[in-house]
């Protein structure tokens, strides 16, 4: 974060009608909102929709944020509820919406090097996608956005201890999948 203003300070200003503070909060948390939704929905378009709808609901109701939990935890709980609602509506549980068709890259050029790195990242995400839901979410939330195990537990609806166990099982499983590739 290049701005040292805390979430609580921005929330306080946003509640007072400071649109700039509201904008900063949105910019600061759009990424984690998208990734939380993606972890649940596994489709980038649907994740963007769920993140958008969830964030709009949360920021409209910002007066109701009392600071009992961290702002990010509060926000991603709302976004994850939105994503789960969308999942129930669509009636899908284990489909992957990730596009796996990519052109082959020649790593000898800079542009292709970037593409090769992108493909490696994509390959890792596809392996992550093979994990059971709670392990996948625990790993992605912890690794992508540095969420604490307590925050992870709030999203995957389990205890902090269970979130930690799911994370480590997920990492171990990923390493097994990588060694088979």
């Amino acid at each position: 974060m290049d701005d040292e203003t805390t979430d609580l300070q921005l929330v306080s200003r946003a509640k007072a009608g400071d649109q700039d503070a509201l904008g900063k909060l949105i910019s600061r948390h759009e990424g984690v909102a998208f990734r939380v939704a993606l972890g649940i929905l596994r489709d980038e378009d649907e994740a963007a929709d769920a993140a958008q709808m969830g964030c709009i609901k949360a920021f409209r109701a910002i007066e109701g944020f009392r600071g009992d939990s961290g702002f990010r935890t509060w926000l991603v709980t709302i976004v994850s509820n939105e994503a789960r609602g969308l999942l129930r509506k669509r009636g899908r549980r284990n489909e992957s919406g990730l596009d796996t068709s990519r052109p082959l890259a020649d790593p000898s050029t800079l542009a292709d090097l970037a593409l090769a790195e992108d493909q490696q990242a994509q390959a890792l995400r596809e392996l992550l996608d093979e994990l059971p839901d709670k392990q996948r979410l625990a790993v992605s939330l912890r690794v992508y956005d540095g969420m604490s195990f307590k925050e992870v537990g709030a999203v995957i609806e389990s205890s902090e201890g269970s979130a930690r166990v799911n994370y480590h099982h997920g990492i171990r499983r990923l390493r097994e999948l990588m060694s088979h590739d």
């Binding site: 958008q52 490696q120 995400r125 992508y144 990923l174």
Partner: protein, 151 residues
């Protein structure tokens, strides 16, 4: 290194990858990684995952901001119901003040059973027996009325 110490380091590898550790702790973990190939492999995986994390689509923040801002006018309108309730009370108060004659008849208005009495039904002037019709008032007019009586 004890098992507990090693477990704690594994817990904190994502924090090292994202740069969220204090410098002293970060150095301790880097040192541990340098001496432990298994920790090194796990950190490499976590670092690759972190650096390749999905990015939100362009324009998502703008769409969220637009959606939040769009809601603002609707939030203003929701105060219409208590405003309308207050307006009804004002009308009731106005009516009570109007009815100050004996026998429950308004001052200056002949009894209803008087066949010669002029009609009290509304004309096109928007008034009923001198009182304003609620339905003809805009939210702004009601608000101004309430301000006038100190609500």
């Amino acid at each position: 290194m004890t098992d507990n110490a090693r477990d704690l380091i594994k817990d904190q590898l994502p924090d090292l990858a994202s740069g969220n550790l204090d410098p002293v702790r970060a150095d301790e973990i880097r040192h541990a990684i340098a001496e432990d190939p298994e920790l090194r492999r796990e950190f490499d995986l976590i670092l690759a995952l972190h650096e390749g994390r999905p990015r939100p689509p362009l324009g998502l923040a703008d769409r969220i901001r637009a959606g939040v801002t769009e809601e603002a006018p609707r939030q203003k309108r929701w105060i219409g119901w208590p405003l309308s309730t207050a307006a009804v009370l004002v009308i009731a108060l106005g009516t009570a003040l109007f009815w100050n004659g004996e026998g429950g008849t308004p001052a200056g208005v002949p009894p209803l059973d008087d066949p010669e009495a002029p009609s009290v039904f509304p004309a096109d002037d928007g008034l009923v027996a001198g009182a304003l019709l609620l339905a003809d008032l805009s939210d702004e007019e009601i608000e101004a009325l309430l301000e006038e009586i100190g609500q």
